[in-house]
Structure formats: C-alpha cells, structure tokens
C-alpha cells in the first residue's frame, strides 16, 4: 500500500506523487505530512521535478543507458529554467538531481571558459569577451 503525496507549487497547483518517487526527496522523507508546499517554485518547474522523480522511481538502475540519455535530455534546458530547477531540487533535497543539474551548469561554464582563455602564469588576465560571456550566464 503506497502513500500518495501532494506537492503544491507557489502558484497553487497541486501535483500528486507516488511514494517511491516522492521519497527521492529528503525534504519530503523527513516531513511529517503528506502535503508539502514548495515555496518560490512555480508549477512549470515543479512539474518537471516531479517528472524526473517519477522516471527515477520507475527504474532502480541509474546506470542504465536509457536513463542516462533521458537525464541528458532533461538537463538540456534553457539556463533560466536550469537555475530554477536547481533551486527546486535543492529545496527538496534531491541529491542526484542537484548533482546532474550542477554538472550541467559546470559544463556550460567550462565550454565558455576553456576555448577563449590562454593560461599564462603567474598572473592571469581574463579577456573582455570571456567576461562578457560569463556575464550572460549570470555572474
């Protein structure tokens, strides 16, 4: 008999989540109630997080190639969505999701910083264009 959890977004939409998926979140795990409001996270984002949890609850084996491909697709979103997803996953304390999302951001920064910069030592100067590029990421 599996419980059903209700997650409420900041714009008052409710998502019903099965126990297996919901317990991927440490926050939900340690909560006494089955109704959790996630502040500052809109329905669009919460929906995606629920989608990730559902997918990962289905399959135990995260090393599965199909899951990996699905995950790669999942994190290939616009950076604004990405940051919002991170905030949500962080609040809900879903470690695996946070890891995947932060890795993605790291990859984006890596891509912007590796090509254009020459590493000279001992001082290091950043080209103006790299600074501009990083600004676009929100630094």
């Amino acid at each position: 008999m599996s419980r059903v959890f209700k997650l409420k977004s900041s714009d008052n939409e409710t998502f019903e989540v099965e126990e297996a998926a919901a317990l991927l979140s440490e926050t939900i795990k340690s909560s006494s109630s089955t109704e959790i409001t996630v502040p500052n996270v809109k329905a669009e984002i919460l929906g995606k997080v629920v989608e990730w949890c559902n997918k990962h609850a289905e399959s135990e084996d995260t090393k599965d190639q199909l899951i990996k491909e699905w995950d790669a697709e999942f994190v290939s979103v616009d950076q604004h969505v990405l940051f919002k997803l991170i905030t949500a996953a962080d609040y809900l304390q879903i470690k695996e999701l946070v890891d995947q999302l932060t890795q993605r951001v790291g990859d984006m920064i890596k891509a912007k910083t590796l090509k254009t910069v020459e590493m000279t030592y001992p001082t290091f100067n950043v080209e103006r264009e790299v600074q501009e590029e990083l600004k676009s990421l929100g630094f």
């Binding site: 604004h80 890596k110 910083t113 590796l114 910069v117 001992p122 100067n125 929100g138 630094f139």
Partner: protein, 434 residues
Amino acid sequence: MKTRNKNKAKTRLMDLPIEILIEILKRLPIKSVCCIRCVSKTLSNIVYSPFFVDLHTRFLIPTNSLAGAAPQLVLRHVESYPGSTTRKLTALESLNYDESEGKLTLSEIFSTSQREFYSDVAFVFYDLICFKKAYMDGNCILSNPLCGEVLRVPTSNILYTKFGKDITFFDDSYGMGFDDITSTYKIVRISRIYERPSYSKSYVVAQLLVLGTSSWREIPVHPVIYCAIPWDKSVCAYGDMHWLFVDEGEAKGVHIVSFDFKKEKFYLTPNPVTSRMPYLHLITLGESIAIVDTYFSSMKVEIWVMKNYNKKEWKREYIINHHMLGLDVDFRFHRANCGEMEYGMYFIDEKGENLLFLDLRPSSMKCVACPIGRKKWNGRRRILSLKRSLISLKKFGDLVEEPESGGQSAGADLGGGEIGQLPNLDFFFLVMLY
C-alpha cells in the same frame, strides 16, 4: 523590492545559494576556476578559500580528472661546462607548442651556472617538483616553479635512530600523493642504506610524512622492493603513486609497485607487458594511467591504457607502427623518454635535441617532429609534464623567503661562476644552492 524580484525575467547564477554555487565550481577544471576567480570579488573569495581548494582537490585528484587542463611541459637542462665536472649550466624552461603554427617556443623560468645542490628531481606531483641533493642526505625541497614557491621538506631522524650514525645512503626515492579521506598530502620515501664499515648488508626502509607536520614515521616496505625506484619511471594518478620496478629476484620481470596514500600501504598492480624496463614508460594519458612499450625488436610502439582503475584492468589501446608516422628523421623510440601532453604524448630523444608530438585523438591522429636545438655542452635534457592544480605550498609551512641582501648573492662563497640572468624567480634558484 519584492515586486522588482517578481518582474525579473532572468535568474542569475549568483542568486543561487552559496552551497550550490560551490557544488558547481568544484566540478570545474583548473583553467575554468582560474577564469572564475577573476570575474568578481565574491567569486574570488570563494575560490581562493582553503575550504574550496580542499573541496576542489578532493573532487579532482581521486577521479584523476584532467578535465580540459592540458599539462604544461617544462624542459630541464643540466649541461656541464667543458673541462669541468662541477660547473654546470642548469635551466628550467617552459615549452609550448603551437599546433596551428607548428611552432615550438621555449621561455626561461630560470637558469644558473652555479653548482646546484638540489639537483636531482625526486618526483613530479601535479605542478609541484620535488628536488633532492645529488649527494643523498635525506634533504629535499618541494617547489612550484610556475609560481615560484619553495618549501623545505622536514628531515627525518628515523634512519639514524634505527641504525646509528654510521650509515651510507645508497639510494633514496620519494613519491607524493593525496589522501582524500583526511584531505592531506603525504610524501613517501624509500631509502636503501648500507651500514659502515662493513657494507655487507643493505637495508630498505620506507617512511611517510604528512605534509604540514614535521615528523616522519616508518612504514612497512613491500617485500618485492629491494632498492629505491627511479623517479622517471613513476607516475602519480588518482592520488596514488605508481612505479615501474625491475625485480631481479626469482620472479624476474617488471612490476608496477603502487602506494595507496589512504591505507599507507604498498601493493602490486598487474603489468600486462613483458618487455624489459628500458623500453617501458609509465605515464598518465588523459584520465588514466598508461604503459608505453617502445619495443626494441619491432618497429612499433604500443600503448596500454588502464581502463578500469578499481579493477586494475588494462587494454592495449594503440599500436603504432613506425612507418605509419611518416617521419623524415630516424627517431629511436626505444631510446627516448616520453610523457603526456595535450591530446596525446611527446617523445624526446636520447640526446634531448628532437621532440616528437603524437596527437592521439581519433579524428586527428598525427605525429609532428620538432627540433629543440643542439646542446651547447654535454649534459642531459629532460622534460617534465606538469598538471595545474590549486595546491598552494603555503598551507604546508613557511615558504623559503627571498634573501634580504640585494647586491651580494648568497651563492658567492661557493667560489667562482656567475649567476645567470635572474628573472623574477631568483629567490627560487638561490634556494637551490643550499
């Protein structure tokens, strides 16, 4: 204030909680981290903090991740003045190869024509080089030549306590590694000593030092080790040290002796290759360890890569026939030294006058020969492959300070010889003399 936030269409990276920001930054390669720290004061504070450096190193070293940081090649010359056995010219130059222009540039880090006391390389660990004295007395220094930091490594009394004062060092080798459980760096030392005056028996002793502390302690030596191990047949990977070692005993052959810095124990890693020692080289290649077999009898070079570090499984990844390389020069691989560089490997010939760059990327596999230039006098040239890290020697103790005296050089009382042109790292080489 609240309405303004609501209207903001974009979420900034800097708005994320700091723990998340650190999670992101810790996965970045060194090059990117260096970029980040120039962008803003907040980021610079995060990235320069010892806490972050620890975290980043703990993530980087055990996974042996290169992640986009190309090794920096450094050329070390030691040449003897003609007619003199003691006067030498020593120089350390950084070597950069511009692929698009096919040009090799050397830029001097330092050079001196004084006698160098700490003249032998003990090991290379990321961007740190450990030098020891030619006449062994258990003293060594740890240096970061790329940013001019030098640290004296505390000396050990263990051998004298154990055997008394009447001992001679026969050989002495060192290795460095990282323990990601305690987040400490350690140096292991293997010494072979003879008791005077009989010289009848030699003893092999291993010791360990945690950097930042000042006492060494003795640790058990693996039974297969009967003498010290040459530094140039060693490699540091995954925070552990690995050496190619010839066993002259019953099980003749070449072993790979490894040291686990977490468990503080020696162990043997399987060696898939049967060639003899002079033709084998142990290097890192990308994120793995590799054995390069330059063969004596056949005109080929084979590279074995350790595909699974936990299971210690090797795979013969490359078989390179000499004639495939399309070289004009007759390059004697079996007498060359080699190491890792960006996208592949370099080979340097016996004389140290010719370099070969081997690009191992499947899409652009090629080989380029590059002369370095003839040596002025007899001597050796070695290439050291340095990997950038965030390790600062300052955390291990007081760095060697630049001497106060401006005019009189500290090396003057050694008698004779000018000091070569001193770039900004003059204090670094002055330490080398003591």
